[in-house]
Symmetry: C2
Subunit: 360 residues, 2 copies
Amino acid sequence: MTPYRTIAQQSASYPVFISRGAIDGVGGIVSSAAGARKRPFVITSANLLEPFGRPVAASFDPPARIVLIEEGERRKTLETAAAAVTALLEAGAQRDSVAVVVGGGMIGDTAGFAASIFLRGIDLVHVPTTLLAQVDSSIGGKVAVNHPAGKNLVGSFHAPRAVVADIDALATLPERELLSGLFEALKSGIIGDVALFELTEQRRAAILERLPEVLEEVVRRSVDVKGEIVSADEREGDRRRLLNYGHTIGHGIEAATHYEGMTHGEAVGWGMIAANAIAVRRGMLPDQVARRIDDSIAAFRPTPPPSLDRDAVLRAMAHDKKFSGGRRVMILPRAIGLCEVVDDIESAELEYGIDAVTAR
Amino acid sequence: MTPYRTIAQQSASYPVFISRGAIDGVGGIVSSAAGARKRPFVITSANLLEPFGRPVAASFDPPARIVLIEEGERRKTLETAAAAVTALLEAGAQRDSVAVVVGGGMIGDTAGFAASIFLRGIDLVHVPTTLLAQVDSSIGGKVAVNHPAGKNLVGSFHAPRAVVADIDALATLPERELLSGLFEALKSGIIGDVALFELTEQRRAAILERLPEVLEEVVRRSVDVKGEIVSADEREGDRRRLLNYGHTIGHGIEAATHYEGMTHGEAVGWGMIAANAIAVRRGMLPDQVARRIDDSIAAFRPTPPPSLDRDAVLRAMAHDKKFSGGRRVMILPRAIGLCEVVDDIESAELEYGIDAVTAR
């Protein structure tokens, strides 16, 4: 199989495969990317075992061993990562093993983090099976678990050896998870690719009907946007911060609702609308462009946030990694395809942005 | 203060300060090594708070905040690292904070690992207060915690920004801990510095009386040996493996005794004697050289291992990271100052080596 592209980060370069039926090629890809001598261990969840875990394991000769972990955002914890480490040890994984992580963002992040600390780090291959994981979380080398004080507060940078995104996996994805990924794809369009944004506007029906060619185009363009950014800036400089568009207030809403009732993508959708309101108020973004973005987000029908106390959202944002050094940083759009890092966000602006989405 | 030397690893370069009273200079060192804007958080244990933690914190202006973690090899766990992460969050640490870790090997490894996963890694400065930590564990960028299945199975590579070793800290070190570090210093001499080995032979009384000039020389020469090795080879190639001399069977003995009753250094001492026996049996090491090394180890009176079942030691070694890929690797000496990686160790040799130290 030919990779769609290679992502060259500072610490490592890796191929990204994006195609229908890619899962059947994982064994061959891993052998050439990580070395044929390396023993593979597929890490997935019980729910994903039959549809994805076993086919991936069977693509190796001999078949890979399978390790199961719990799934769900509430299980995205250090305890689950520790359980994955124990399961890997019990299954016989060693320093020269490769962890082939099959699942959505939670599994990729949690098992990927486990791989990064197992014997101080073993090879990792991501096989993202959700749209969110394919367009976002499997790319860039960040892995993490949540802490009671906030999301992704415990983690590593651990670039994968390869990423294998099978578009066919999206055919059976629950609709809310498809939508969750679409909000991240929309985000990628707004921060760096007008054509991607227009694709989500113009082919909306085809996307919701899961026309594989259109989904493949959405994934490829999203991977391009993220790939360019993480190649330029592996860690947390200004370029990479662009990826946080919609995530500042989005994370606050997620945390204030205890990560329940709303997908991550939906929270990002509301976070983008909040950021747009702030950008319009600052005079950075024309009102009609904000409305065009907001309409596109609304068209994918994010679950409305419950009537949240504004202060609860603000408190939940206090531990946000993006608010380091005392400066409040947000990503605000100037146009579709052009966002900026703004580091002097005032409390009143945050409140205005939160009110724009929670007072509905 | 002037650093004794700089260690240039692949991922980072950092200065190592070795002198009497160095603790009072930590604040100034951290400001120049990690940046004056970075907020320091001293991580130490309750026992080390008054003698070392507070003086280190007071060397900053304003004084650094102090975070306490539990100590002891049995607390060198993911749970303790997670507690350190929580304590850092509660103390207000952020992405641009620097963790100043004050203590022996257990604290350096555990809090260092916590720093490596806190917000995906923050700056780390080691202030080693035991001989073991000064000559070995603070150098090289490895941090880890134990797993029920074995030592240091969960960890990271996270190079410090600086290492500050205060020789005066050794004055009050419990004698067994001093000896524990001496076995690692002896090891460094045998793998790479004849003069260091001879220092431990010829100045034995001065070392045991803790003459600062002699201890400083022991620390400096040990740091040189380890520094050269980790500069050449950051991860686990052949050069770095030399540091495992005495550690293969040593770890097996430690694990089989559940890390109780014997210090790490003592276990390494016995592990070196076991390795020497295997080297003599192979014809690699002259018998009289083995005896010279063994005598030097014995002169520092390691606690004898309990009469261990040979199979218990072998079983405990099964999860050893050094035994990856099916090959059994040990480091064996050819002469004092010259060791080799041997990767075809047979079961019978392991048994012979174990019997050489447990049948006493």
